[in-house]
């Protein structure tokens, strides 16, 4: 469910608020515990406003409520628990989850309609199957 990203047309993005969970200039690894958001307002495929928002609590409902209050339509984030993802989607927030990379590159790809992209997805999303392990891997380590 979480890996099946939604593809949105460029037209849909006009005049809407997109939030990114951010950490050190990158997409925050776990949205469930991330505290900082960058909210951008996108019109005609360009950014007309940027706001930084801080969550005062890690509570899932607090986050969902804040996003709804800010009228955020799309959330770009890293890993997110199923429960929180379901809550976000049930409240009409489109989710691009398990995104990785630096914030500006992610915004750029999003504006070009290129998300999700394999280069900006966290590992484990594309295949849950275990692949054959290679032998003789790794560096020499001292035990």
């Amino acid at each position: 469910m979480l890996c099946a990203f939604k593809v949105k047309s460029l037209e849909e993005k006009n005049g809407m608020k997109v939030a990114l969970a951010v950490w050190n200039g990158r997409i925050s690894p776990v949205f469930d515990v991330s505290r900082n958001l960058l909210v951008i307002e996108v019109k005609d495929c360009s950014i007309v406003e940027r706001i930084e928002v801080h969550f005062s609590s890690d509570q899932a409902m607090h986050k969902v409520r804040r996003l709804m209050e800010m009228e955020v339509a799309v959330l770009l984030c890293g890993a997110v628990s199923r429960q929180l993802a379901a809550t976000l989607e049930a409240n009409g927030i489109s989710l691009y989850a398990f995104i990785s990379g630096d914030v500006e590159s992610v915004i750029g790809e999003y504006l070009k309609g290129r998300l999700p992209s394999p280069g900006m997805s966290m590992p484990g999303c594309r295949s849950a199957r275990r692949r054959k392990r290679e032998k003789f891997r790794g560096k020499k380590v001292k035990i």
Partner: protein
């Protein structure tokens, strides 16, 4: 003496460890990832290698209190720090994490090693041992209630209408409140309306409101409960008791998301989540034509059946403790709990009034007991008790008769001498009840409960 080993041997050793292990290089990129790490995270070795550790491990501590960062900064290992990770399926996995530095032969730091243990099973066992699942005032250890508790976050997250079914006193309103409090609407009003408590005309104006001049005495506008619950949740208790006419109006509100106050010419948009509840069998009512099928389907989107207390008696000790703590807090007393004999009596009772009845009985005991333990003498009369004098030295048939008479008298008292309710409570037909009463010489008091409303 330290000895270097081949990469192949190191990989084999790492794979033989049941805890997840990964190592990072000086750029925080994964350089090793053992088999257990693959299993716990759901991420393959190939996908993990070379990626930043936070993208692979995805732990609750990555952002703020990274254990590895601490080890790098202080040079000291971190042992068994608790947190959770999010695996490839989006599941939260509780883990304990330990970290250490990796150094080359010259003693220079070349990265770090992190081991993590999946605590899911331990967490489940811990919950089972404490056996306590609690949401607000709802406390349970029964599997049926546990399923409800586990389902609740998803129910709360959705915007669908919920139908709560259960006998009176099972905690339908508590559950509705829990759903509201866990939902994104929690900052908005929760409005509870008992549909069975008001006559039809009054209920209509109560639910939808009225405009000034709508009827004699309506001097000013009054917002209805739907308007009060705007952006929040409305709890419609005893939904099975509303009239056919009101059912149609309610259906329109649910379908069109608009309410029309009495005397108003234009509808008002409403954004309300509806949680309905009933202790009646709505499906049977639909079959009999007493409840509209379309409304039934509209409210029966998510249905939760709350089991009666007699079907989850294992909850009685837990609930008794919960209520003792609650009344100690409210009444400033220091009752330690319910003693074994009193608890046995509480357990022997069938609770037609369910959790509410148990709460009332504990409250009753608090009147007589200020500290120490609640004993049988503190409990109300007729609670799980058969007086020895009722059985005495009687033979088998007499003892059975005494037991039946005791059950019937108890049921009569609890149902305010309403014959039909008494029969239902005992699970027998009312003619069987009359026959038994006649043979046992039990009489209804003159002022019986026949005139009472059924519920």
């Amino acid at each position: 003496m330290k000895q270097s080993i081949s990469p192949q041997a190191a990989a084999t050793i790492l794979d033989s460890i049941s805890d997840g292990v990964f190592t990072i290089d000086e750029n925080w990129r994964i350089s090793e990832f053992n088999r257990a790490a693959e299993n716990i995270t759901g991420i393959s070795w190939q996908e993990a290698i070379g990626r930043p550790c936070w993208e692979v491990f995805r732990a609750s501590m990555c952002e703020v209190e990274c254990a590895m960062r601490r080890t790098m900064d202080t040079g000291r290992p971190v042992i068994n720090r608790s947190g959770f990770i999010i695996d490839a399926d989006g599941q939260r996995i509780p883990v304990s994490v330990s970290t250490a530095l990796l150094k080359d032969e010259a003693g220079s730091i070349i990265g770090g090693a992190e081991t993590f243990r999946d605590l899911s099973e331990i967490e489940t066992l811990r919950k089972e041992l404490s056996g306590k699942y609690q949401i607000g005032d709802l406390v349970s250890r029964s599997p049926a209630m546990r399923q409800i508790f586990e389902l609740l976050p998803q129910v709360a997250a959705s915007t669908s209408t919920v139908l709560l079914c259960g006998e009176t006193g099972t905690g339908k309103e508590l559950l509705a409140r829990a759903i509201h409090n866990m939902s994104p609407r929690s900052g908005k009003p929760f409005i509870a309306v008992n549909c069975g408590a008001l006559p039809d005309a009054l209920l209509e104006s109560e639910l939808f409101g009225y405009k000034a001049g709508a009827f004699t005495g309506a001097n000013r506008d009054k917002p209805g409960r739907f308007a009060q619950a705007h952006e929040g949740t409305i709890f419609l208790d005893e939904i099975g008791d509303i009239s056919q006419a009101l059912q149609i109006r309610l259906l329109r509100v649910l379908q069109e998301k608009q309410v029309e106050p009495l005397g108003s010419t234009s509808p008002v948009a409403t954004d309300v989540r509806v949680v309905a509840a009933t202790n009646r069998d709505l499906e049977k009512m639909v079959e009999k034509g007493e409840f509209r099928q379309d409304l039934f389907y509209r409210i029966n989107v998510i249905r939760i059946d709350i089991p009666p207390l007699r079907e989850r008696k294992e909850d009685i000790p837990l609930l008794a403790d919960h209520f003792v703590s609650k009344f100690n807090r409210i009444q400033g007393k220091s009752v330690q709990g319910v003693d074994a004999e009193a608890l046995a009596r509480l357990m022997a009772h069938d609770y037609p009034g369910n959790v509410r009845e148990l709460e009332n009985r504990i409250e009753h005991a608090f009147v007589l007991c200020s500290n120490g333990w609640i004993q049988p003498g503190h409990l109300p009369e007729g609670i799980g008790r058969i007086e020895p004098s009722e059985i005495g030295q009687k033979n088998f048939h007499e003892a059975v008769n005494a037991f039946e008479a005791h059950l019937i008298r108890d049921a009569m008292r609890e149902n305010h001498y309403n014959r039909l309710k008494t029969a239902r409570r005992l699970g027998i037909h009312k003619t069987t009840l009359f026959r038994k009463m006649k043979s046992l010489g039990i009489e209804f008091p003159e002022a019986d409960g026949r005139s009472r409303a059924e519920g």
